[in-house]
């Protein structure tokens, strides 16, 4: 008894020393790779570099300029519209696929699951190049088939279709990823609930509506949060499609792309840092609003 007590005391004393040691590698890397760049960007955003006259401290002037920058507003507008259209489509598809897979009524469920998830394993650069080829107005298969059948195919890379075409690429890429998260959430529902519901006379649709969908809410909130961040940081897809449609996608088509153009073509690193911080702020606010709404709905 006393031996056990002694041993217990030793193991109690150890975490005090071991804890920080174990956490140290993470903390060091977190500090070096995460907080330092953030701090450096915040520092940069308070200065302005001139080709003539060098660098001067300007305080919050970059932020004030950014707030009234029509190009930045245009970029944020594009991604906001993209978010409103693309995210509901993607999440509804993901929920439907997850429910279908979870119902156990699907044949070849594993093949289907892998098939829907596979696009996520394709790098977004490759996916965009592939879709860019498919969309092509003169070389793309859709346009060619349309020409052979004498059907007018919309100009997927034209200014009125571009946002929809981008949404399609992102939906193709990320539906599977969101489906896996939702599917995993469905798997954690205790099977007894289904049995009890079946005893009460509930059918498959009723079970889906009354048990599965409410149980999906936390996972849906999570996927929605990822989607907010993903949408507002849209970059790869427009940056690559710009090569195919330079007259539609300008250097400020999305907010992130604008920050990139500012830093790497205009050499306005300081202003780009301010724009990035504002974009980050927008993402934080929208994420917080969604979390707040999701939590408030769950409590009553």
């Amino acid at each position: 008894m006393s031996g056990q007590n002694f041993r217990g005391r030793v193991t109690l004393a150890r975490p005090g020393v071991a804890g920080p040691v174990f956490v140290a590698p993470f903390l060091v890397l977190f500090l070096l790779l995460f907080l330092t760049p953030l701090g450096y960007a915040a520092y940069l955003s308070l200065f302005q570099h001139h080709l003539v006259g060098g660098t001067t401290f300007v305080g919050l002037k970059n932020y004030v300029t950014a707030l009234s920058d029509p190009l930045l507003r245009e970029g944020v507008g594009h991604v906001a519209l993209f978010f409103v259209i693309q995210v509901p489509v993607m999440l509804i598809l993901a929920v439907l696929f997850a429910l279908a897979l979870d119902s156990g009524l699907l044949r070849l469920a594993k093949v289907v699951r892998l098939g829907i998830f596979l696009p996520y394993a394709v790098p977004s650069v490759v996916a965009t190049l592939m879709w860019g080829y498919l969309y092509g107005p003169s070389f793309g298969p859709f346009a060619q088939i349309g020409r052979d059948l004498h059907v007018t195919v919309p100009d997927f890379l034209g200014s009125s279709w571009m946002l929809a075409s981008l949404s399609n690429i992102v939906t193709w890429e990320f539906t599977g990823y969101n489906m896996i998260i939702l599917y995993a959430a469905l798997q954690t529902i205790p099977r007894e609930l289904y049995e009890a519901a079946a005893v009460d006379g509930a059918g498959a649709w009723r079970i889906a509506r009354s048990i599965k969908l409410p149980a999906l809410r936390p996972a849906l909130t999570l996927t929605l949060l990822f989607s907010v961040i993903g949408s507002f940081q849209l970059f790869n897809e427009p940056a690559l499609l710009q090569q195919l449609a330079p007259n539609v996608i300008d250097s400020s088509y999305t907010a992130n792309f604008y920050a990139y153009s500012l830093a790497f073509t205009g050499q306005q690193v300081n202003y780009a840092a301010a724009v990035s911080f504002l974009l980050g702020l927008v993402i934080v606010i929208i994420s917080y609003v969604f979390l707040f709404l999701a939590n408030r709905r769950r409590t009553p």
């Binding site: 007259n247 250097s251 205009g266």
Partner: protein
Amino acid sequence: MIKSTKNPIAAAQFAQFLNSDPDSASLFASKQFLFPSTKALLADASFANQAPAFYGGQQVNKLFAQISDTVSSTFEWPPFLDEFTTDWTDTVGKALADKTDAVTALATLESQLTTYAKNQGFTVTTTSS
């Protein structure tokens, strides 16, 4: 020639040969579709009378040769060419591709470049023409 070139004189001579030799210049213009680097080539009938299918069979080279004479030979490159090309693509390039008003686009380009230059500490003056 850039400063770090090892043999600047030889490099300059080579660049001059590459762009002035009649055969080489004509290859650049007909295979790479670069703008002719010699006046001789611009005036050459075999070049001027070309009617590329890309332009719907128009003799565009003749027109290009005429326009070439109107280009000021004293112009200078801006110190921020990157910014200029990006802004050009976003404004005038877009207008040309969409067949909208190129003059309005030029005005937008001018105001964007002026803003940029002023932000970078340059003094912007307009020359009356």
